[in-house]
C-alpha cells in the first residue's frame, strides 16, 4: 500500500456550528443599550456623554491592565467589558465627578469580574459591584441628582423622604419618556423597552423574566402604596435592572424555572429595600443578593431528564 500523501483535519463532531459567538451576543447587548444612552445625553446634557465615554474607556483599560497582570490573552475583543462600562455608567447620577466613575469602573472590572477568573466565572454582576462600591464609598456624590441644572430629588427619594413634595413628581408620560431626575440610563422606559424587544428578537434573553420581576414589585407596591403604583414602577431602576441585569446570563440561574425564581426573589428584595429599608432604591442590592443564591437555585432546579420518572 502506498503512503497517503495528505492528512486531513480531524476534530470531534459536530463539524458545523451556529454562526454566533460571545462577541455577537455582547454586540447585540451594546446595541440594545444604545437608545437609552442617546436619550440620556438629550435629557441630562453632554456631561452624561462624558460619564459614559469615561466609563467605557476605563473599562477597556482596566481589562487590558488585568490581562497584562495575568499574562493572559487580551480579552477586550469579547466586548463584555464594554457592556459592563455602559451598564455601570447608566446607573450613575448625571453629574457624578469623573474620578468616581473611573474608580467605580475599575472596581467593577477588576474586583467584580477578573478577580474571580474573568468572564463566565464572576458570581456577581460586575457593573453592580462597581455601583455598590461607589454608592457606599461616595454616598454624598451618589445621592446628588441633578436635573435641568438644579439638584432635584428623584421621584423615589421624594416618596420616601419628602412625601410632602409629592406634587413635584412629573406625570406618567414624562416618566415613560424619561424626562425627569434619575440615574443616567434608567429614566427612559421607552428606550429600555426598545432594547428589550431587540434582545428578545435576537433570543438573548427570556422574554418573561423582566415582567416577572416588575410584576412582583408591582404586586407588593399595591399592598404598600397603591396610589403611587405607576411612579414606583416607572421611575427608578426597575426596567434597567429587569431588562439588562437580571437577564445577565453569567450571574443568573440557567433553567427557566431558576430564572423565574431569581426574578421573583429580586422583586421581593427590591420591594423590601424600597419600602422598609433605608435606601429609596433597591434594584442594585437586590440583584447582588440574589446573585449569591444563583448556584443554590441552579442546584435545586435541575429539570426532569428524558426517560426518568420524576
Amino acid at each position: 500500500m502506498e503512503k497517503a500523501d495528505k492528512l486531513y483535519i480531524v476534530s470531534p463532531a459536530p463539524h458545523v456550528r451556529k454562526e454566533h459567538s460571545i462577541q455577537t451576543m455582547m454586540l447585540d447587548t451594546i446595541l440594545a443599550l444604545l437608545p437609552a444612552g442617546v436619550v440620556s445625553v438629550i435629557i441630562f446634557g453632554v456631561y452624561s456623554l462624558g460619564i459614559i465615554f469615561t466609563s467605557v474607556t476605563f473599562a477597556v483599560l482596566s481589562e487590558i491592565f488585568v490581562n497584562l497582570l495575568r499574562r493572559q490573552k487580551f480579552t477586550v475583543s469579547d466586548l463584555s467589558c464594554i457592556v459592563t462600562g455602559l451598564l455601570f455608567a447608566y446607573t450613575l447620577p448625571p453629574r457624578l465627578p469623573l474620578v468616581i466613575v473611573i474608580i467605580g469602573i475599575f472596581v467593577a472590572i477588576v474586583f467584580g469580574k477578573h478577580i474571580y477568573g474573568g468572564l463566565g466565572y464572576n458570581p456577581f454582576n460586575p457593573a453592580l459591584i462597581g455601583r455598590a462600591f461607589v454608592h457606599i464609598a461616595f454616598p454624598q456624590q451618589m445621592g446628588n441628582f441633578t436635573f435641568d441644572a438644579v439638584s432635584t430629588a428623584t421621584p423615589l427619594t421624594i416618596l420616601k423622604h419628602f412625601p410632602e413634595q409629592v406634587h413635584l413628581i412629573p406625570d406618567v408620560s414624562k416618566l415613560i419618556l424619561g424626562n425627569y431626575s434619575g440615574s443616567l440610563g434608567e429614566t427612559s422606559v421607552v428606550c429600555l423597552l426598545i432594547g428589550y424587544f431587540y434582545l428578545v428578537l435576537k433570543k438573548h434573553i427570556n422574554p418573561f423574566v423582566p415582567w416577572v420581576y416588575i410584576t412582583t414589585v408591582g404586586l407588593i407596591t399595591i399592598l404598600h402604596d397603591a396610589s403611587h403604583l405607576w411612579i414606583y414602577l416607572l421611575s427608578g431602576g426597575l426596567f434597567l435592572g429587569g431588562i439588562f441585569m437580571i437577564t445577565d446570563p453569567v450571574t443568573t440561574p440557567v433553567s427557566y424555572k431558576g430564572k423565574i425564581i431569581f426574578a421573583v426573589g429580586c422583586g421581593l428584595l427590591t420591594s423590601l429595600i424600597r419600602y422598609w429599608g433605608s435606601y429609596p432604591e433597591g434594584v442594585c442590592f437586590s440583584i447582588l443578593l440574589m446573585n449569591m443564591l444563583t448556584p443554590l437555585i441552579d442546584e435545586y432546579t435541575i429539570r426532569k431528564k428524558f426517560g426518568y420518572k420524576k
Partner: protein, 436 residues
C-alpha cells in the same frame, strides 16, 4: 402529535437530493472490517489465497450481538491486514479481497420469499445470516432488534425516514426510488414482531419521498405515514418515538421497553433484499457531498476505500481539507483517504473548512442555550464545566450516560465549547473508573 423538546435547525444543505441513486464502478480491492457493528467483532472464516464469490460469507458472527460479513466481489483473499477503521479511528484487522472483475455471485436462493409460511425465528435467523445491521449509523445488529424477549409486546414498528442530518440524502433517495421495497421490508418486520401497526415517519423537507410513500401505502393496511416537522435530531430513536407515539423510552432502556421497534428505511430495504432476493448486505447507498462538484448518491460496496471512491468518481479534492463519514452533526472526521466504507457509512462529506481557529473555545458564560436545545433534557453546560475540572462525582450527577451525542449543545454554544466531545470523553473515563 407531540414534539420532542429541544433540537436545532442547522442549514439543511441537502444539495445531493436531486441526484438519482447510481451504481459505482467497483474497485480492485475491498477491505472488509471485522467490526462493522455494535458488539463482538466477527471471526474470519476464509484464509489467504482462498477464492470467494460475490455474496459469500467471509466472517462469521461471534455470539449474540454480532454480525456476519460477506464479500461484495468475487476474487482471491489477499489476507487479513490492519486497516484504519472509520469509527474507532485506529488500525484494526480487515479481510482484504482482490476482485477478479467477474462478480461471480453465489447461488441466490430466495426461499423465504413467501415469508408468511415461515416462523419469525427462521426469518430472523436468515437476517442474521445476511449480516444486516442498522444502516442509519448505529450499526446495531438487526436480528437482535427483531427478536425481543418474550415478555415484551411490540405494537408498533417505525420506519425511520427522517434523515435529519444536513447534507445526507441517501434515505431520501431510497424512499423515492425503492418505496416498494421499503414498505415490503416494513411488513416483514411487522410480521416477525407480530406488530399491529407500521408507521413510516418522514420529515416535511422531503415532499417527493412523502408523495411516493403516500401513494404506496394507500393500498397497504396497517401501515400509515406520519409527516413530522424538520428538526434535528428528529431521526434519533428516542426523540422519534416521543414525537410519533408520545412514549418516553426510560433511561438506560430500549425502544422495545415501550413496545416499539425503530428501523431505518435503508435497513428495511436490506431486509427486503435478504428475504425476497436472498441477497446478503454487501453494498449500501452512500451520499457523496460537501464542497465538491461531483455530488450524488451511489450504491457503494462495503469495504471500498475512500481513495478508490475519489478515483472512480473523479472527485476534485485539491481544496478539501476535511473528510467526514456520516453527517456533519455526528459524523467522524477521517485523517486519511485510506479508510474503507463500512455498513454504517451513510455519507462521505468532503469539506473545506476555513481555518483551525474554529476549534478555539472560551469559558462558559452560562447563556443556557445548550440546556434549551438538549433533546434529552440534560444540563450540558454543567457537564462541560465539571468535565473540564475533572469533578467526576459531579459529572455523574448530571447523567452523562443519557447523552445521545447528537451534538446540539456544541452546535449552539456561543463560546464554541466542544461539549459533546467532552461528554464522550467523560463516558470513557467513567466506564474505566467503574471497572477499576
Amino acid at each position: 402529535m407531540t414534539r420532542f423538546s429541544g433540537g436545532i435547525h442547522p442549514k439543511e444543505k441537502k444539495i445531493a437530493k436531486l441526484y438519482r441513486i447510481q451504481n459505482i464502478q467497483y474497485p480492485q480491492y475491498v477491505y472488509l472490517h471485522l467490526s462493522q457493528h455494535t458488539g463482538k467483532p466477527a471471526v474470519p472464516i476464509v484464509k489467504e489465497k482462498d477464492y470467494v464469490l460475490r455474496g459469500q460469507k467471509v466472517a462469521q458472527s461471534d455470539g449474540l450481538i454480532s454480525a456476519c460479513i460477506h464479500s461484495p466481489v468475487s476474487g482471491q483473499v489477499v489476507g487479513i491486514k490492519d486497516v484504519l477503521h472509520p469509527v474507532i479511528c485506529k488500525k484494526l484487522p480487515a479481510v482484504v479481497i482482490e476482485s477478479d472483475g467477474k462478480f461471480t455471485t453465489i447461488e441466490l436462493k430466495p426461499k423465504y420469499k413467501e415469508y408468511h409460511r415461515f416462523s419469525p425465528q427462521e426469518l430472523v435467523g436468515y437476517i442474521k445470516e445476511c449480516g444486516i445491521v442498522g444502516l442509519g449509523g448505529a450499526m446495531f445488529p438487526t436480528d437482535v432488534k427483531l427478536s425481543p424477549p418474550k415478555d415484551k409486546v411490540i405494537d408498533y414498528v417505525i420506519a425511520n425516514g427522517c434523515e435529519c442530518e444536513p447534507y445526507l440524502t441517501s434515505d431520501d433517495r431510497l424512499m423515492q426510488e425503492y418505496y416498494d421495497e421499503i414498505i415490503e421490508g416494513l411488513k416483514i418486520a411487522m410480521y416477525i414482531l407480530d406488530a399491529l401497526k407500521g408507521i413510516v415517519v418522514v420529515e416535511d423537507n422531503k415532499p417527493d419521498a412523502i408523495e411516493k410513500i403516500k401513494r404506496k401505502i394507500e393500498r397497504t393496511p396497517n401501515v400509515e405515514l406520519r409527516i413530522v416537522k424538520t428538526k434535528y435530531p428528529q431521526g434519533a430513536e428516542k426523540q422519534l418515538i416521543q414525537t410519533v407515539l408520545n412514549r418516553e423510552v426510560p433511561s438506560g432502556g430500549l425502544p422495545m421497553d415501550v413496545g416499539v421497534v425503530v428501523q431505518n428505511v435503508a435497513t428495511l430495504k436490506a431486509i427486503y433484499d435478504a428475504i425476497f432476493k436472498g441477497l446478503p448486505l454487501i453494498e449500501r447507498v452512500v451520499t457523496i457531498s460537501g464542497d465538491i462538484e461531483r455530488l450524488g448518491n451511489f450504491v457503494v460496496p462495503i469495504g471500498m476505500m475512500v481513495k478508490d471512491v475519489v478515483k472512480v468518481l473523479n472527485i476534485n479534492i485539491s481544496d478539501v481539507n476535511k473528510i467526514i463519514f456520516g453527517g456533519p452533526m455526528m459524523g467522524i472526521a477521517q485523517e486519511s483517504l485510506e479508510v474503507p466504507i463500512i455498513k454504517g457509512t451513510s455519507g462521505i462529506l468532503f469539506l473545506r473548512t476555513v481555518s483551525n481557529k474554529e476549534y478555539e473555545y472560551y469559558q462558559c458564560v452560562r447563556c443556557g442555550k445548550c440546556v434549551y436545545v438538549c433533546p434529552m433534557k440534560l444540563m450540558p453546560n454543567f457537564l462541560s464545566i465539571y468535565i473540564e475540572h475533572q469533578k467526576w462525582g459531579k459529572v455523574e450527577k448530571y447523567s452523562p450516560f443519557d447523552c445521545i451525542e447528537c451534538g446540539c449543545c456544541s452546535y449552539i454554544c456561543i463560546a464554541k465549547r466542544p461539549i459533546v466531545a467532552q461528554i464522550k470523553y467523560a463516558k470513557t473515563i467513567l466506564t474505566t473508573l467503574v471497572k477499576k
